[in-house]
Structures are given as structure tokens and as C-alpha cells.
């Protein structure tokens, strides 16, 4: 899940010249070109919201990864690398990959084969319209707020690196995102995510390689990390986690496994519609299942270009993270300014700005779908012709971006409140995941159990966090508050769901076909393509491979 990103704007001006601006301009011309090309291909609302369900797994997989690989993620994980050391890989190897594999193997068939448009739509089918509306509203609000936070963080980085004024960078970036999402809908958002993925890598790889050369290679890096403030614990993942005080992360291994590895990550990866939507746009069930699994492989190796630069920055800039020095979040921008000459520098800046915009576009395209289908079409105006909803989707995009600009401006005034909200949303998905998992595997769970479980879980998530912030409940650190808040919300959701189920009548089996485990829908045709039987297209084989690889990667860093 995206880490917190707080950025003040010290003077980090990069020495950009015309060459770098040319590289940047070329990217945005291409992006707008994609939007215009996509405009010609978008004929129906299904094209606009789900890319006509036509994309192959490698595209949806990279888009799935990129929807999460926003700049907040990149800058934030490099910051974690500098602050916590190698242990940051937990966010990838146990905090993401298992959940991604679970989504692909277990949950995606339910999402895809039930032909739902969104996660709230699935809740309507499995439970009722009220559950759908509750989730749709909380999701839509969260997306707009997060889009605004992304926009604000982007404008701070543009201000710090390029010297652009805050308002100008907010408006320019919002306008670019707006233009390509309105024109091409999800297709153009996804195409840009895939393109952004390669550009950001082309920017991060030289930073990592040159950074490593500067500190004397891997051995030089480990040697100098040992002498840094982080010390030897900064080079280990599981050692020292027997007690929460002995490791830089400040977490017990049980908290890492259950809090990060289970509740938080399963909540985020399996029910966050901005992610799941990428799988729903795949061309058949197999491609949909492969989407998160294809994404898991590059995800395993992303720490190479985030955590290593973080550590390099730690040993190169001695005042990093100190009260009067630059914040940890500036680890990568600092290295870019220190190591990259004009030209490659332009690529890195482009990759960074593109990934901010991709993150925001993911929020906006999730928002417009849920608003159009799950709020407006399901609860306000039903049975209009398809063109009506296509138009509405375009207007919802405009509305989402305008609200995002509003949130960004609020964030500019009250950055602390935004940080709290961001932390809150990080465990917002935990109760939703509880509702899903109980609903999928317990067919007796009733419609109203879905609603009340979700409502009480969400309220508990809010209450525990506000209680922590107000000093009423003491969880120790922020990280522990997140783990415990998510765990509590999950537990309360399960208990309320079970209790309400016992007092209400279940839905008839005929309405649950294809929506719960063990009740398949025989009327659905097999949509496998020739070649899907091959082992290299098998979600189970590839999924287990990803898990095994994650385990192996831990070995050198125990």
C-alpha cells in the first residue's frame, strides 16, 4: 500500500535545461496523443469504464502494478529505505506479493465471471443495494481525497525540483490528467500506466547504478550503512523482530505477518477497486486471474530501485532525515540532482511526474466508474440509454478532477489533516476485506449482515484511529496504531456479520450462484483461449512461483 508522504519544500532545485524540458514535453505530447487516439476507439460506456474487456494479461498486469507504483510509493519507499533499511522489503515481499497471488488465484474468478463493473457492484449482487451504496460512497470520497493528496504532493515536487509555483503545477497537472482520462477513459489511463512504468524504470536504474558506484558497490554500501545511524539492524529483515524495540521498523514479527502481511495488504490489494478494475478490463477469465500475478514478479524486484537508492542517500547525505536537513522523502530527488547529467535527468524527472499523474489517473478512473455505475445508475437514474452513462462518466471525471484540485488546495493549507486521512485510508480496506472473505466462503451470510458488518467495521477503523490521535487509546507508534486499527476493524466486522446473519434470513441459493465459493454458475460459458492451458499461463503455477521467489529473496537478508 502507498506509504505516507509528507513533503515540505526545501530548496532542491535541479539543474534542468532545455534538453530535459524537451524530453518532458515529448512525453506529454505522446500522452495526449494516446488520449486522442483512444477517443476514436471508445464507443460505449463499457469501452470507457472497462476498456471493452479486451486487454491481454501483460498490459493489465503492468497497469495493475503501475496503478500502485505512483510517485508517493516510489519516493515513500525510498524514504522508508533510508529510515528503516532493508526491512522495507517487507512492504513488497510479505506485504504485497501474497495478497496479489491470492487475488489472482482465489478472488478474481468471482469478480470477473460475475461480470460486475466494480467492487461495489459485486457487493450489490452478493448482499444488497445498501451495502453497494455504503461502499461506493466511502470509496468515491477516498479516491477524491487521495487524488487531491497526489496532486498536492506532485505540485510540491514540481515546485522543489523545477521551481514552478504551487497553483500553476496543480492546475497544469490536473489539466493533463483530465484531458487524457476524459478522452479515452480507462484505456488511456491504462496505456499511460504501462508507458509510465517503463519511463520511471529508465529514470531509476541510472540513479541506482551510479549511486552504488559512488558508495563503492554493494559491499561498500553495507559497510557504510553499518557505520550510519541505522547500523547493522538496517541490513536485516527478520532478525531482531522478536521484540518491537530491537529493529528500526519498531514492529514485532507477529505484527509484520498478521498486520502488514495479512489484514492490511489483503485488504488493500484484493478489494481496492482502483486495482481490481485493471483485472476486470482483461480479455478473459484467465487473463484477469493472471493480472495481479504478472504484476507480482516485477513487484518483487522494485525494491532494487527504491530501497537501494534510499540506503545510498542515507550514507551520502549525512543530514538526511535530521530536523534541519532534507526529509527522507527527498532521497531520490537528491540523488537525481547529484548524479544525473542533463538528458538522463530529464528522463528521471519525466518518470517521476508521469508516475504522479498515473497515480491520480487511477484514482480518477476508479472514482468515475463507481460514481456512474454504483451511485448514479444504481440509485438515482436507472434505465437510461448507454450514451447517457458514457457522457455522465466524462462529466464525473471532470467533477472528480475539480474536487481533487479543491482537496489539493485544502491539503496545501492543512497538511497535517491530510496526513491523518492518508493514514486512515491505509487501513480503510480491512473491514471490506472481512466482509468479502466471510461472504465468499460462508454462503449463509445474509444481505443485511453485509451492510451492518461493513458499517460497524468502518466506524471502528475511524474511531480507533481518531482515539489514537486524540490520545484516548495508546498504541505506541503510528505503525502499531495502523496494525491494530486494521485488526480491530477486521475483527468487529466479522463478529457483527456473524451475529446479524443469525437473526436474518439468508438469500436463496439461486441468487448466489457464481458469487460464493462452492456454488458455481453453470450457465457461464468457458471463455478460455487456445494456449491458456500452457503452464506459463497457469495462474496457480505462476502464483506459487512468485511466492517461492519471495521466500528465496528473503534468504540473503535474514
Amino acid at each position: 500500500m502507498p506509504p505516507l508522504l509528507t513533503v515540505a519544500a526545501p530548496d532542491l532545485r535541479l539543474d534542468v535545461n532545455l534538453l530535459d524540458y524537451a524530453v518532458l514535453a515529448l512525453y506529454f505530447v505522446t500522452v495526449l496523443g494516446i488520449g486522442l487516439a483512444a477517443r476514436r476507439a471508445v464507443k460505449t460506456s463499457l469501452d470507457f469504464f472497462l476498456s471493452g474487456r479486451s486487454l491481454p494479461a501483460w498490459i493489465t498486469g503492468l497497469a495493475f502494478l503501475s496503478a500502485n507504483l505512483g510517485a508517493t510509493e516510489i519516493l515513500g519507499m525510498a524514504a522508508n529505505g533510508a529510515q528503516y533499511g532493508i526491512a522495507t522489503v517487507h512492504y513488497y515481499w510479505i506485504g504485497a506479493v501474497p495478497a496479489m497471488v491470492f487475488l489472482g488465484i482465489v478472488m478474481m474468478p468471482f469478480y470477473y465471471r460475475s461480470k460486475v463493473h466494480s467492487v461495489p457492484d459485486f457487493l450489490r449482487r452478493r448482499f444488497n443495494g445498501q451495502t453497494q451504496l455504503l461502499n461506493a460512497i466511502t470509496f468515491a470520497m477516498a479516491q477524491v481525497l487521495i487524488a487531491g493528496i497526489n496532486l498536492y504532493a506532485l505540485s510540491l515536487v514540481m515546485g522543489a525540483l523545477l521551481g514552478w509555483p504551487l497553483l500553476l503545477s496543480i492546475v497544469v497537472s490536473a489539466a493533463i490528467v483530465l484531458a487524457y482520462v476524459v478522452l479515452g477513459g480507462l484505456s488511456s489511463a491504462i496505456y499511460n500506466e504501462v508507458m509510465q512504468f517503463f519511463v520511471i524504470l529508465a529514470g531509476l536504474i541510472p540513479v541506482t547504478v551510479l549511486g552504488l558506484m559512488k558508495v563503492g558497490g554493494w559491499s561498500g554500501l553495507t559497510e557504510r550503512v553499518k557505520q550510519s545511524a541505522l547500523g547493522d539492524p538496517g541490513l536485516h529483515t527478520w532478525a531482531n523482530t522478536g521484540s518491537a524495540d530491537a529493529n528500526p521498523l519498531g514492529a514485532h514479527w507477529i505484527g509484520i505477518v498478521l498486520g502488514l502481511g495479512f489484514v492490511l495488504s489483503f485488504g488493500y490489494w484484493t478489494t481496492n477497486f482502483a486495482e481490481v478494475q485493471r483485472g476486470l478490463s482483461a480479455r478473459n477469465t484467465n487473463a484477469a486471474r493472471l493480472t495481479p500475478i504478472v504484476a507480482a514478479y516485477p513487484k518483487l524486484f522494485i525494491p532494487v530501485v527504491t530501497v537501494i537508492p534510499g540506503l545510498v542517500a542515507l550514507v551520502l547525505f549525512s543530514d538526511l532525515g535530521k530536523p534541519d536537513g532534507p526529509q527522507y522523502n527527498y532521497a531520490i530527488p537528491l540523488l537525481m540532482g547529484d548524479l544525473l547529467p542533463n538528458g538522463v535527468l530529464g528522463i528521471a524527472v519525466t518518470g517521476l511526474l508521469a508516475s504522479f499523474m498515473a497515480g491520480m489517473a487511477a484514482n480518477i478512473s476508479g472514482f468515475n466508474t463507481v460514481f456512474t455505475y454504483d451511485i448514479w445508475k444504481s440509485h438515482v437514474k436507472k434505465d437510461r440509454p448507454d450514451g447517457y452513462y458514457l457522457n455522465l462518466g466524462r462529466w464525473a471525471t471532470v467533477g472528480g478532477v475539480v474536487l481533487g484540485i479543491g482537496t489539493a488546495l485544502i491539503a496545501a493549507g492543512f497538511s497535517n489533516i491530510m496526513n491523518y486521512l492518508q493514514a486512515l485510508f491505509s487501513f480503510f480496506n480491512a473491514p471490506l476485506f472481512a466482509t468479502f472473505i466471510v461472504g465468499l466462503f460462508w454462503r449463509r451470510m445474509t444481505a443485511w449482515a453485509g451492510f451492518w458488518g461493513l458499517l460497524s467495521g468502518t466506524v471502528v477503523a475511524f474511531a480507533s484511529y481518531i482515539g489514537f490521535k486524540a490520545g484516548l487509546i495508546d498504541f505506541g507508534t503510528e505503525l502499531n496504531a495502523t496494525f491494530w486499527g486494521a485488526g480491530l476493524a477486521f475483527g468487529v466486522d466479522v463478529v457483527v456479520s456473524v451475529v446479524v446473519t443469525l437473526f436474518t434470513t439468508p438469500k436463496p441459493e439461486s441468487e448466489l450462484r457464481g458469487l460464493v465459493y462452492g456454488l458455481s454458475d453453470a450457465s457461464l460459458a468457458d471463455d478460455a483461449l487456445s494456449g491458456d492451458k500452457a503452464w506459463y499461463r497457469s495462474p496457480v503455477v505462476l502464483g506459487i512461483g512468485a511466492l517461492a521467489l519471495a521466500g528465496l529473496l528473503y534468504l540473503p537478508f535474514l
Binding site: L26, I34, A38, P206, M213, P341, D386
Partner: protein, 94 residues
């Protein structure tokens, strides 16, 4: 029929492998030229590596692979009705 060929052409232009390939080759050319012209200051900044040249060549290679892939396995565009999108829907690379 003209609509069909129009759709085919749009789909081929819109193939993401072409877009990424084209962009990377273009970026690669820019960086290669910049790398050849780099002065001592730029090389010293990057730890003595001609990073623009290296990245330029690498990006041309990556872009080339995408273009070659698109050439060797071009997109198959089959007609499909818009409201019943199946596995053989048009518009995207396979």
C-alpha cells in the same frame, strides 16, 4: 468496409508496443546525441560514466524490441459487436 479498415488502422496506430517502442527509440536517439556531446562536467557528475550514451543505446535497444515484437506478431483485429464483448474483442494487442 471503409469503417472496418479505418478501425484496423486506428487499432494498429494505437498498439501500445508501437507507442512505447517509438517513444523509447526517440528518447534513445536524443540521449545518444547528448552523450556524444557531453562535456567533462557532465561525465564527472555521473561518476565518470557516459551515462547519457549508455542509457541512449539501451533505450534504443528496448524500443527496438517493442517495435520488432509488434512487427512479428501484429495485432489481429476481428469484428465484434460493441455490446457483446467477448475474448476476441478488437482494439488491443495480444
Amino acid at each position: 468496409m471503409t469503417d472496418e479498415t479505418g478501425r484496423k488502422r486506428a487499432a494498429r496506430l494505437f498498439d501500445i508496443r508501437r507507442i512505447i517502442g517509438g517513444l523509447f527509440v526517440l528518447y534513445g536517439l536524443i540521449l545518444t546525441v547528448a552523450g556524444l556531446l557531453d562535456g567533462d562536467a557532465a561525465i564527472a557528475k555521473a561518476e565518470g560514466v557516459r551515462i547519457n550514451l549508455w542509457m541512449g543505446v539501451a533505450m534504443i535497444a528496448v524500443g527496438g524490441v517493442f517495435l520488432l515484437w509488434e512487427r512479428l506478431r501484429p495485432l489481429e483485429v476481428t469484428p465484434a459487436s460493441p455490446d457483446e464483448p467477448g475474448p476476441d474483442s478488437p482494439g488491443d494487442p495480444s
